[in-house]
């Protein structure tokens, strides 16, 4: 596999309803959805959450395979979390035991629940990054952080740093690919050997990579200053963000989902549902 083919956090261009939403809407919706995940308790509420995520993926017209591929880097964490919960959660109904290991019904439930939560969380946030170009995404973050400027959050600087970092990730991956190829052609071996050996084998890759990163940073700083960049003070932008009708609909839907799940969980206590 080539390094440039990593899918997690990569923009997948398109023109669906989800793609066209304001980035702020998508960020807020993702946060609300994540909160809603922690409201869920019963299989019914998990069903609703899953259906909602599936619907959003469907509307965004992303290939299913691509979205599922985004799960690849974390499936180990998911399984690990599940097992840890399964074996360590306290509970009475032992359904399986071996030596000192006990799996209880409660543990199994909790383990499955955590796994589903993690998967939903990742699926939903990967839809955010798949449907929003990085530049637009940072615009949205900057905009959402602006109110916190009063308490000292450097919104513009943070956003600029993120934009630059995001802008250079593909470039650095490409560079890595190129240098790796060049050293491979000189007989370098990045895959074999023990830990120490491998670390040493990485030097012919890391040294040129750092040098080129510093060179690029230097060039970028000069280029930005040459174009009179002086920080965020009084900067105007080419594309102003603006909410449209679709944004209100989308936000209303996610809010409804969160409220619905909250009612499902706590409604009984307040006597709202039977």
């Amino acid at each position: 596999m080539m390094l440039t083919e990593i899918t997690l956090g990569q923009y997948f261009p398109g023109n669906s309803f989800v793609h066209r939403l304001d980035p702020r809407t998508k960020i807020l919706a993702t946060i609300i959805y994540i909160i809603a995940i922690f409201f869920a308790e019963t299989p019914l509420s998990y069903g609703i959450l899953t259906a909602f995520a599936a619907l959003v993926i469907l509307i965004s017209r992303l290939p299913w395979l691509l979205v599922l591929k985004a799960l690849k880097p974390i499936w180990i964490i998911v399984i690990l979390t599940m097992f840890i919960h399964m074996f360590t959660a306290p509970g009475e109904h032992v359904i399986w035991s071996w030596k000192f290991l006990n799996v209880t019904q409660e543990g199994l439930d909790l383990g499955l629940k955590m796994a589903v939560r993690l998967i939903l969380l990742l699926l939903f946030s990967s839809v955010l990054t798949f449907t929003t170009s990085p530049i637009v995404l940072t615009d949205g973050i900057e905009n959402l952080l602006r109110p916190f400027k009063a308490v000292g959050v450097p919104a513009h600087e943070l956003a600029m740093m993120m934009t630059i970092a995001l802008r250079f990730i593909p470039t650095l991956l490409e560079e890595t690919d190129r240098i790796m190829k060049a050293q491979t052609a000189r007989g370098a071996d990045f895959a074999n050997g023990n830990m120490l050996q491998r670390l040493k084998n990485m030097l012919p890759l890391l040294v040129p990579l750092f040098i080129s990163a510093f060179r690029r940073a230097d060039e970028l700083a000069v280029a930005m200053e040459a174009r009179c960049y002086r920080g965020g003070e009084g900067r105007t932008r080419m594309h102003e963000l603006a909410y449209g009708g679709g944004d209100y609909v989308a936000l209303a839907l996610v809010l409804a989902l969160a409220v619905g799940l909250a009612v499902l969980r706590w409604g009984k206590l307040c006597g709202l549902s039977s």
Binding site: T7, I179, Q183, T184, R186, P208
Partner: protein, 285 residues
């Protein structure tokens, strides 16, 4: 002795919206001792093509072999075959990493399993070839050299592996004319003394005509023409312009003069030859 690519296809970023067919149905054989220039418009697939010559890229379809050995196969034998092909990338100085020039050039030979004595010999010879004085430069830090010198260190790093084939992807990009000529002079000397086959990717038609005895014109991921440079420029001049490749100035001028009725011989390769031919035709001293 030859490298053979047979009906190879290559697609980048398969299965994403960035998918791009970079090579389609390319078949090329490069024999030992040849000097092959590869030209074509930006993005036509030249770099993709040459990276198949030593297994850095694997074809989606088709085969790549060196002396009937599959280049892309696993195992020591295939690796040894791949290492017969030295590869100098665009801006090769960006791959330099070691503390001294000697150590950097020695990297390839050591990986190839040379013992220290052979390594020292290979480094010394390679530095001589690219015109870097051993006593002056061997112990210096490569990062304190000029751009042209760094490029020579990088080329020496590949030459020191004693390859049978040497692939150079725009070795003269970003160099001043004098270093450019020097680099080519050294490459040609290498070809002469060791009989190495040279594959040269270039944007300069002048370089292609001057140094190569065979030329591949790539367009849209396919081989458009394959033959003697002078013959291709003569027979397909108009088509070349259409695919964004220019005919060398010397050829244009010579053609123009022929049209005007001057009798000039065929096979004029550079300015000096043209000047000589004109003098002769006109009977000037």
């Amino acid at each position: 002795m030859s490298i053979k690519l047979s009906n190879i296809y290559h697609t980048y970023s398969k299965g994403t919206p960035f998918e791009r067919l970079a090579l389609q149905d390319v078949s090329v054989a490069i024999a030992k001792g040849e000097i092959v220039a590869i030209i074509g418009h930006t993005g036509s697939g030249k770099s993709t093509l040459v990276q198949h010559l030593n297994g850095l890229l694997k074809p989606d379809k088709g085969t790549a072999t060196i002396d009937d050995m599959d280049i892309t196969a696993k195992g020591q034998q295939a690796k040894a075959a791949r290492q017969q092909v030295g590869m100098v990338f665009q801006y090769p100085e960006h791959q330099i990493f070691a503390e001294t020039v000697f150590e950097d050039i020695a990297f390839g030979p050591r990986n190839k399993g040379f013992n220290e004595e052979e390594v020292a010999k290979a480094v010394r010879e390679a530095m001589e070839f690219v015109g870097l004085d051993y006593d002056t430069f061997a112990e210096r830090s490569p990062f304190q050299l000029s751009g042209g010198q760094m490029r020579r260190v990088a080329i020496a790093g590949v030459v020191a592996m004693n390859p049978d084939y040497l692939v150079l992807d725009e070795p003269s990009a970003g160099l001043d004319p004098r270093s450019r000529n020097a680099v080519f002079r050294e490459i040609m000397a290498l070809h002469k003394s060791r009989g190495i086959a040279i594959v040269l990717v270039t944007h300069s038609m002048e370089e292609a005509v001057k140094y190569a005895n065979r030329m591949l014109v790539i367009n849209g991921g396919q081989v458009l023409f394959d033959g003697e440079p002078a013959a291709i420029f003569k027979e397909h001049g108009d088509e070349l312009v259409q695919v964004g490749v220019d005919v060398p100035q010397v050829y244009k001028l010579a053609d123009l003069l022929r049209h005007k009725g001057m009798s000039l011989p065929e096979g004029i390769k550079d300015e000096m030859a043209l000047v000589k031919a004109i003098k002769q035709a006109k009977g000037w001293k």
